[in-house]
């Protein structure tokens, strides 16, 4: 296309494309989906559907930000679905005890952080493999919650619970704004703050990171605690959309979030990936369901389409690597 002269604007553009081609290929897939929608179902681009999409994916995005950190560190956390459910129920129960909403929020975040820290202790402290440790905590949390709640909704919440007691319009904006703020802060810190660089360093090569003065186990512990905190925040953002709390709300969330992160180009081998990619991954996977409704597709094919998109996204990655 052009000579790869690094100095020219073209060259710089190509360099950027080269560095970001994983994200760009997913973005391309998303754009194709949007074009198909624009042609066949222009209703998709009205304000209401877009607002609904933003609000319902805000909590997924917050959880995915945490999961990106975890995967960048070469770890994985499959307990977040259970953790999400537990935090949602915690928020409901705290609100029903009559605590003011700021305390409810604080308590929920604390519960998430503590559960995340327990995962961190198992992984960084006891050095258990993260996939096994979080598999175990997933089962323990899920079954304990079932034992305690038996699937019953947390009902009779005070009116200050839904939308933090603000109106629906304000509440929806708040949910989206909080998720956006979390995303921006983390995306910026990952590249520009020492701690963010430390996460990438540990994920790339823990031994080199250690020699460079970064404590890998401390970073891993911190990342799991952060994951718990963010899962708690996600649960809170999800719970306040409703008048009751559903104790099953986190079911299947872990795979949804992991899929969004890997589709977004974060390597499960650690050290490589970006939050921008995660954002596109969340947007793509979150749009498929509604898009199929707008396209009048049969619901039974939805999972198959989702699987194909995950495979297609990772296959481009593989082709890309073979070319190099």
């Amino acid at each position: 296309m052009n000579s790869p002269a690094a100095e020219s604007p073209w060259g710089r553009l190509i360099a950027v494309i080269g560095a970001r081609r994983r994200e760009l290929s997913v973005l391309l897939a998303y754009v194709v989906l949007l074009i198909v929608l624009a042609v066949t179902a222009p209703r998709f681009f009205r304000a209401d559907p877009i607002r609904a999409l933003l609000v319902s994916n805000s909590s997924v995005l917050v959880a995915a930000v945490g999961m990106t950190m975890v995967i960048l560190c070469r770890q994985i956390d499959i307990s977040i679905g259970s953790l999400f459910s537990v935090c949602g129920v915690t928020a409901g129960l705290l609100a029903r005890m009559g605590l003011p909403m700021p305390l409810v929020a604080l308590g929920t975040l604390a519960a998430g952080a503590i559960l995340g820290a327990i995962n961190g202790l198992f992984v960084a402290g006891l050095r258990l493999p993260s996939i096994v440790a979080t598999l175990a905590t997933m089962v323990v949390l899920r079954e304990s919650l079932r034992y305690a709640r038996e699937g019953e909704f947390v009902r009779d919440l005070p009116s200050s619970f839904q939308w933090f007691g603000q109106g629906q319009a304000l509440g929806q904006s708040a949910v989206v704004a909080i998720a956006a703020a979390v995303f921006v802060v983390f995306a910026w810190s990952l590249a520009n703050v020492t701690l963010g660089r430390a996460v990438l360093a540990v994920g790339s090569d823990p031994e080199a990171a250690r020699l460079a003065g970064i404590p890998p186990r401390g970073v891993v512990f911190g990342v799991f605690t952060l994951m718990g905190l963010l899962a708690g925040l996600a649960a809170l953002l999800n719970a306040i959309r409703f008048a009751d709390v559903d104790p099953g709300s986190g079911g299947g969330l872990e795979l949804q979030v992991i899929a969004a992160v890997v589709v977004g180009g974060t390597a499960v081998t650690g050290g490589r990936g970006s939050l921008i990619g995660t954002l596109i991954g969340v947007a793509l996977l979150g749009s498929i369901g509604p898009a199929l409704v707008f396209l009048d597709a049969k619901p039974q094919w939805e999972k198959a389409v989702q699987g194909l998109i995950i495979l297609a996204a990772v296959a481009t990655d593989a082709l890309d690597r073979q070319e190099r």
Binding site: P49, P129, L135, Y147, V314, A315
Partner: protein
């Protein structure tokens, strides 16, 4: 599986790459001792065989996953592949008319193809196995649902095929046991007695190193994924014959159970270290943990919690062993273990002790309660001979909901407990906690082993559970179905709260009233594969096409029994199709979910109706968003079921009766073998506040 490792000349070498298994046999032994002490009929041959039968499908997946994980890979797609294979098997046999052996061969071929797709993407595409199989996990389940619409259920297999999964060999051993033994031995030979097994370990330690050593890394890695796919489809065939049905939801969640068994068995999740006999020990530890609490009348959730704790303990203890090089795991490479051994041991000991105390406390409590109940009212005088033999004279009624974590069944349970207290009988309440259609069979099997007087089941899938209910009747246990029926010859009576036709008619008539006879509506259902949902949808559609041709059903969306998903689906339909003026939410979390979505959309011209609990809907009914909900008095349903069960056991309720006096409910009509609770009840603005469930 016997392991003769000590006799082997290369044992010393093998030991270095085989996991240490000292903890696991000990764990297994202590499980057996604990449950023999607190469980009823746990330490019997019949129970041992039942444990074996339930282990087969997850066991097949687990032994096939062992070499996969030994190479440092993972296969998340095996559970979904079971669903796809079951559907392919059903299609080949029923729709294409292939004889059973040909259909089985075709299914195995499909499994091998699916496995080779995994293998090719992983070896040629060089994509991490976690991601590839995450994709095929969605894809395989999606194809299975797409091919059948989620609805199609293949049943009525010939008896010779069903014998594979339900029959008995000499000495009462289950038919599928030899098959499992053969597969397990083959995988054991592959991993422990063949050069390739050593090669797989080498690949797990370092794929690069193995390649330099001249091993055909790509070919061998692809092979283990093909074997994994092949075995998953074999598991699907066994599953189909055990349940007598093949459906898209076969094997849901089995991948995690199988991975847990493998990891518990000492196979390193990072590869390099693995053993099939360890996997088998891990498998039995898990299955016993599932069955034991049922025989000891402990809640099933404890089994889940205990599985998680034991997994942590076993892996924690395993960490003490000096492991091989860990290619992916960053934390342990350079740092030395200081006092961690003792710390790990102390923590694990504490967890184990806490679990034991908890278990013992629960068992004591359960026993004490049983004794208390036994003393309070006089027990039955003419109980079945089985009852007389056991230590508790009062009747034991075992009652199963479709799923435990569901507010609807919690309300039923309150009524059931009320009747049990009134009549002085022991009530066992247990059921599936996860969406696996085979779970009900396992609970009934455990109850047969334990010995109860009456089993009352709210049937989740008819063909599947009927076979095991027949078995219960053969053993002299009375069987009642409630909420949803099994095959008529598999039970004595059915407590009929409302027929699907009654529900369909009530919903559709109200929909027509609200829509004014024309327009379109959408249905929010729990899942595309749930049996009762499908029955209701059919009856709604039948009523619509018969009486209201001007009304159309615009959309059918599954919500996975989640309020949040019901909300999102409703919002999407509202936005995509403004002509939809009515939502029919036919599972209980969907009613408040859909109503909240309509409320937040600000559309006042859209209404919600559905099948749900009054308590969930009160707010929305008063706000005028939800017009009405259809349900029966669930508390009465539980109450009547226990009343009928006790009547049946004491001989007050005999076949051919036309009336039955059920405590506070008074005289109820019996039609054939259906005990009728009454018509479905319509909860509206005017009456909903009078109910609390």
């Amino acid at each position: 599986m016997a392991t003769a490792e000590g006799l082997d000349p290369v044992a010393a070498e093998t030991r270095s790459r085989a996991p240490r298994l000292a903890v696991l046999p000990l764990l297994l032994l202590s499980e057996i001792v604990v449950f023999s002490l607190i469980g009823t009929n746990f330490f019997t041959m019949a129970n041992a065989y039942e444990i074996l039968r339930l282990s087969v499908e997850i066991g097949l997946l687990a032994v096939a996953l062992t070499p996969v994980i030994t190479t440092g890979g993972i296969d998340l797609s095996v559970g979904s592949l079971m669903g796809l294979s079951a559907v392919v098997f059903g299609k080949l046999w029923r729709d294409m008319g292939a004889p059973i052996p040909v259909a089985i061969a075709g299914t195995l071929g499909c499994g091998a193809v699916a496995g080779s797709i995994n293998g090719v993407l992983i070896t040629r595409g060089k994509i991490p196995p976690l991601i590839v199989t995450l994709g095929t996990y969605s894809l395989a389940r999606g194809l299975a649902e797409g091919l059948t619409g989620g609805v199609d259920n293949f049943t009525h297999f010939p008896p010779s095929f069903l014998a594979l999964g339900q029959g008995y060999l000499a000495w009462g051993a289950p038919t599928q046991a030899p098959l499992f033994a053969v597969v397990a031995i083959l995988f054991w030979m592959l991993l422990h007695r063949m050069a390739i097994g050593r090669g797989l370990s080498a690949i797990g330690y370092s794929a690069e190193g193995a390649r330099h050593a001249g091993l055909p890394v790509e070919r061998w890695v692809a092979l283990v994924y093909i074997l994994s796919g092949l075995t998953a489809s074999l598991a699907a065939v066994v599953y189909a014959s055990r349940l007598g049905q093949a459906k898209a939801d076969a094997g849901t969640g089995y991948e995690l159970a199988a991975i847990t068994a493998v990891v518990l068995g000492g196979t390193s999740i990072f590869g390099g270290r693995g053993s099939v006999h360890g996997t088998l020990l891990g498998l039995f530890a898990i299955v016993i943990l599932q069955i034991g609490p049922r025989l000891a009348d402990l809640p099933a959730e404890l089994a889940g919690v205990a599985t998680g704790v034991i997994l942590l303990v076993a892996i924690g203890l395993d960490r003490r062993q000096p492991a091989g090089p860990r290619p992916q795991f960053p934390l342990s490479q350079s740092e030395t273990l200081v006092v961690k051994n003792s710390q790990v041991a102390v923590i694990c000991g504490a967890i184990l002790a806490a679990a034991a105390i908890n278990l013992a406390g629960n068992a004591y409590l359960a026993r004490a309660l049983v004794r208390e109940r036994a003393q309070a009212p006089p027990g039955s005088t003419e109980g079945s001979p089985r009852a007389a033999l056991r230590e508790h004279p009062p009747l034991t009624i075992a009652m199963m909901p479709k799923s435990k974590g569901n507010a609807y069944f919690i309300a039923c349970r309150k009524g059931a407990e009320e009747a049990a207290a009134e009549l002085g009988v022991t009530l066992l309440w247990d059921g599936p906690t996860d969406p696996d259609p085979a779970k009900q069979n396992e609970v009934v099997d455990a109850w047969i082993t334990r010995g109860v007087d009456v089993i009352a089941v709210a049937v989740e899938n008819r063909e599947g559970v009927s076979s095991v209910l027949r078995k219960a009747r053969e053993r002299g246990i009375k069987v009642i179905t409630w909420d949803a029926d099994a095959d008529p010859d598999a039970r004595d009576f059915f407590v009929n709260q409302a027929t699907p036709e009654g529900i369909g008619r009530a919903l559709m008539d109200n929909a027509a009233r609200i829509l004014g006879g024309k327009g379109s509506f959408a249905i929010i259902t729990a899942s595309l594969t749930a049996g009762n949902m499908i029955a209701w949808q059919k009856c709604i559609e039948a009523r619509r096409s018969e009486k209201y041709p001007n009304i159309t059903m615009a959309s059918l969306r599954p919500c996975d029994d989640l309020q949040k998903k019901a909300f999102d689906e409703t919002t999407t339909v509202l936005n995509s199709n403004p002509a939809v003026k009515l939502f029919m939410a036919i599972c209980s979390p969907a009613v408040p979910g859909a109503a909240e979505a309509v409320k937040q959309s600000g559309r006042t011209d859209v209404k919600v109706i559905g099948i749900g609990l009054p308590n969930d809907s009160k707010r929305y009914v008063h706000e005028g968003i939800t017009d009405c909900v259809v349900l029966w008095n669930t508390r009465d349903l539980g109450y009547l079921t226990v009343q009928a069960a006790v009547g049946l056991a004491r001989g007050d309720l005999k076949p051919g009766a036309v009336r039955y006096s059920a405590g506070r409910l008074g005289e109820l009509r019996i039609e054939g073998t259906d005990i009728l609770l009454g018509q479905p009840y319509l909860f509206t603005k005017d009456n909903i506040d009078q109910f609390d469930f």
